[in-house]
């Protein structure tokens, strides 16, 4: 017996409830922007400078006690969070101690780290420090700029590539849906105050790549169907194309999600935020390539005369020898 995720020959109408989906998306984007400005992101030390010390102990972590131990050192803003993970053994208790940047350029001094470690050893002699990371504000400032540039560069490269391979309407549709995905993902990070660091930027770029992947598959089919059904209305062509690619979209998203969920549960706490961003991005990316990218294409309209494959836009790779 075969497992079927999507019935054969579906003919769902994806644009029947256009106001609802577009409305929902716009609302989410606006909410994300508000959340971003109102609550801010929980930036990791990569982006704001400072030091994180990971502690591990066989004794249960008492955040209040840790805080009291470090407070007399006068290091400014100190945050302590306990880390939970299903992979940890029964007597493995992990916490992250984060200290704000102490100077304008440099990373933390060995004395500061020694002082913090000493204070924690006072209350718990068996405590160990599996990792210590420190980033000076000078570098973190540059990292922020690089991160922003790389996301923008990715979006721009996509814009150009789709433009070359399709038409500008496709390009705009794709980029708008990508911006939509990235913004909502950032919004979720702001709302839940999940740590936002360099790895998350990598996740965002992967989401851009993945969501685009989906969008391009749909667009590719739209282009093909536009050539085949010259008289069908654009809306019907889009609906047909989405229906035809639906089982592939669901299939690929499912396999990817299967892999990522395994990683989320079993991959350890160090990359959990990264994997979470990716899972969320894949769900939203799949949604947006159907509802946002295609809806925009419908709105913008598209050149219908695809009869000449050697036209100015949209060169085909299909005659490459397979």
């Amino acid at each position: 017996m075969r497992l079927k995720l999507v019935p054969d020959n579906t003919s769902w109408d994806f644009f029947g409830r256009l106001p609802i989906t577009v409305g929902l998306s716009s609302m989410l984007v606006v909410a994300s922007i508000i959340a971003f400005f109102a609550m801010g992101l929980n930036f990791g030390i990569d982006f704001r400078g400072g030091t994180t010390i990971r502690t591990e102990s066989s004794v249960a972590v008492d955040v209040g006690e840790y805080r009291d131990a470090i407070a007399p050192l006068g290091l400014g803003d100190v945050s302590i969070t306990e880390v939970f993970d299903p992979n940890f053994g029964p007597d493995q208790n992990v916490a992250m101690v984060r200290i704000e940047a102490q100077s304008d350029t440099e990373s933390v001094t060995p004395e500061t780290i020694a002082a913090v470690e000493g204070a924690l050893q006072q209350i718990d002699p068996g405590i160990t420090f599996p990792s210590v990371e420190s980033v000076g504000p000078k570098v973190s400032g540059e990292l922020v700029m690089t991160a922003i540039y790389s996301v923008l560069a990715a979006l721009f490269a996509v814009l150009v590539y789709i433009w070359l391979r399709f038409e500008w309407q496709f390009s705009v549709g794709a980029v708008v849906s990508l911006v939509h995905d990235v913004m909502i993902t950032i919004g979720v990070f702001a709302v839940f105050q999940i740590k936002f660091d360099l790895a998350i930027i990598a996740a965002l770029l992967t989401i851009v790549g993945y969501s685009l992947n989906d969008t391009v598959i749909v667009y590719d089919r739209v282009r093909e169907n536009l050539r085949r059904y010259k008289v069908m209305s654009l809306k019907d062509v889009l609906n047909l194309s989405i229906n035809e690619t639906m089982s592939r979209t669901v299939m690929t998203s499912s396999t990817t999600l299967v892999a990522l969920i395994a990683l989320l549960v079993l991959g350890g706490d160090v990359i959990r935020g990264f994997v979470f961003a990716m899972i969320f991005g894949i769900v939203i990316g799949t949604y947006s390539s159907v509802f946002i990218a295609s809806a925009l294409l419908l709105r913008l309209g598209v050149k219908r005369d695809w009869s000449k494959p050697d036209g100015e836009a949209g060169t085909q790779f299909a005659d490459v020898d397979a």
């Binding site: 598959i217 093909e224 350890g268």
Partner: protein, 542 residues
């Protein structure tokens, strides 16, 4: 094509036996470096020589170790250059005393030399004389420009390094720093340290297996400028005015004690040829050193002339000790004693052997990852990858049946090839890199899914099995290429802009895209065609 797959898998093979191959590689390196021993031979035979033995490099986050990003204060060198220039300027102007009158060095911002002259009328001549000291810049890019710029302002001559000279100096400073850091790290003898220049004036140092970034900082953060200076006096007043051409340095061991020293050293660390940790006659840790012939002569002459007076051993602006010269020391060797621990004396010997850094460094970023945390990450990554792998395999089998199994074979080969490529090009695997592989496992089936869905459609449209397979591949191709190229573009951007772990992610993602497209288009198709030729099924169920 089959050859390519086999080659990829062959390169991936050593990674399955990581510790064993690592042992073998280390042994081979050790035998090359310092001859063969029975133990090393045994280690080497742990892995056959004729098999590929390149491994995936594990990133710091997986192996544990220390990471530092340092910025070299290149301006230090400008100041030193100006100080070195002053005697020449002074001598040149002295010859022209009749025209320029008395001269005096003025306080100036760092990296500038300001000299005032008595006669404003002699300015033109003075500038001319100083300009004659300029020399052409000795680099390819700076051809035609001079190394110093000389300007006059009222009665002050201002000398600065020219732009071209600064660039050349910066470059030399960084190169020297790199070289010295490399020597120091190598002396400690850890495996495969990464020491790279980053940007204009930064140096990235990654040392796997070292306990902490602090240790690394202690090792490379000290300038280790060793000098032997004549002592003028000993005092407990740190604000004492030292007099011209003299300096005041604090004592390293004795609190509140300062030494007034002559600024010009008798000999410096640059004249050293060797330094070793040792013990003095009382059994306390010390460092023994030996001068090169020139240094030995200078040192011998000085000790012969100054028997009875003290001289100071100065390290980075602190007096380690100031022993009295008891007799002429002709051999050019001696020992430094201080209140050292064994560890400190060993470190000092390493630092002295490796030479002094040309400039100070500030540390912008540092990370320490304990080896246990790295191992935990590897274990977690392994389990997650296996579960993800099995999940995807089952899923594909359930949805596509026989074709799904073929795709699974391709997927297995695909993951093998990713590891093979990673080893072959010597890329570094990081934790996000593992995530990249897991993501690839999920996405790799995409190309196959596209093809299979297309074949299903063609079958539904009533085409025969052979035709459906052909058309399926043909029509899915443009979508496959478009979709993967766009993801590849983002991977490339990540690689260019990203750093460290993120780069590792970009590499596995990009390699995963290449191998998965290759596997889907060629490998699966080959298998399907072979199967089809054998069986010639009348109907096809995908």
């Amino acid at each position: 094509m089959i050859g390519l797959v086999v080659l990829g898998l062959g390169y991936a093979l050593p990674n399955l036996f990581y510790p064993r191959v690592e042992l073998h590689n280390d042994a081979v390196a050790a035998i090359e470096a310092s001859g063969s021993t029975a133990e090393r031979e045994a280690d080497r035979s742990a892995w056959p020589d004729w098999l590929p033995s390149s491994l995936v490099n594990l990133g710091l986050d997986l192996r544990g170790g220390a990471h530092l990003l340092a910025e070299v204060r290149v301006e230090d060198v400008y100041a030193a250059r100006m100080d070195a220039l002053w005697p020449d300027v002074r001598d040149a102007l002295r010859d022209e005393r009749d025209t320029v009158g008395a001269i005096r060095r003025q306080n100036a911002p760092e990296g500038e030399l300001r000299v005032s002259i008595e006669n404003a009328d002699g300015m033109a001549r003075a500038l001319e004389v100083v300009r004659e000291l300029a020399q052409p810049v000795a680099t390819l890019t700076g051809v035609g420009s001079k190394n110093i710029e000389v300007a006059g302002q009222d009665r002050t001559i201002i000398v600065t390094l020219s732009e071209a000279e600064r660039t050349a100096t910066d470059d030399r400073t960084i190169q020297q720093s790199l070289e010295i850091i490399r020597r120091r790290v190598d002396e400690v003898g850890t495996r495969e340290p990464t020491i790279q220049r980053q940007g204009e004036r930064r140096i990235l140092i990654q040392v796997p297996g070292l306990g902490s970034a602090e240790e690394l900082k202690a090792l490379i953060g000290t300038t280790a400028q060793l000098t032997f200076n004549p002592v003028i006096s000993r005092t407990s007043d740190g604000n004492v005015s030292p007099g011209p051409r003299n300096v005041v340095y604090p004592s390293l061991d004795e609190d509140g004690i300062f030494y007034v020293l002559e600024q010009t050293p008798v000999v410096t660390g640059e004249d050293l040829v060797d330094a070793q940790p040792t013990f003095d006659q009382n059994g306390r840790p010390a460092v023994s050193f030996r001068f090169d012939p020139a240094g030995a002569r200078k040192f011998g002459d000085y000790t012969a002339e100054n028997v009875g007076s003290p001289f100071a051993i100065v390290l980075d602006g602190e007096v380690i000790s100031a022993p009295r010269i008891n007799e002429h020391i002709p051999g050019g060797s001696g020992i430094i004693t201080g209140n050292f621990t064994v560890e400190e004396s060993t470190n000092l010997a390493v630092l002295l052997r490796a030479g002094a850094l040309p400039a100070e460094m500030t540390f912008l970023e540092e990370r320490t990852i304990g080896p246990q945390l790295g191992q935990d990450s590897i274990d977690a990554g392994k389990i997650a990858s296996i579960v993800a792998f099995i999940g995807v395999l089952l899923f594909m089998g359930l949805v596509y049946g026989w074709f799904g199994l073929l795709a699974n074979v391709a997927l297995i080969l695909n993951v093998g090839m990713i590891f093979g490529l990673l080893s072959a090009i010597g890329a570094t695997l990081t934790l996000p890199g593992i995530a990249g592989i897991v993501l690839t496992i999920g996405m790799a089936v995409d190309a196959n899914v596209l093809v299979f869905e297309r074949i299903r459609e063609e079958l539904r449209a009533g085409r025969g099995p052979a035709r459906a397979i052909d058309l399926g591949y043909e029509k899915a191709l443009s979508a496959i290429i478009d979709a993967n190229l766009t993801t590849f573009i983002t991977a490339v951007i990540l690689f260019i802009m990203g750093s460290g772990p993120v780069k590792g992610f970009a590499v596995t993602l990009a390699l995963g895209i290449i191998t998965s497209v290759f596997a889907a288009i060629y490998v699966t198709r080959l298998m399907i065609v072979i199967w089809f030729e054998r069986r010639r099924p009348k109907t096809l169920v995908v």
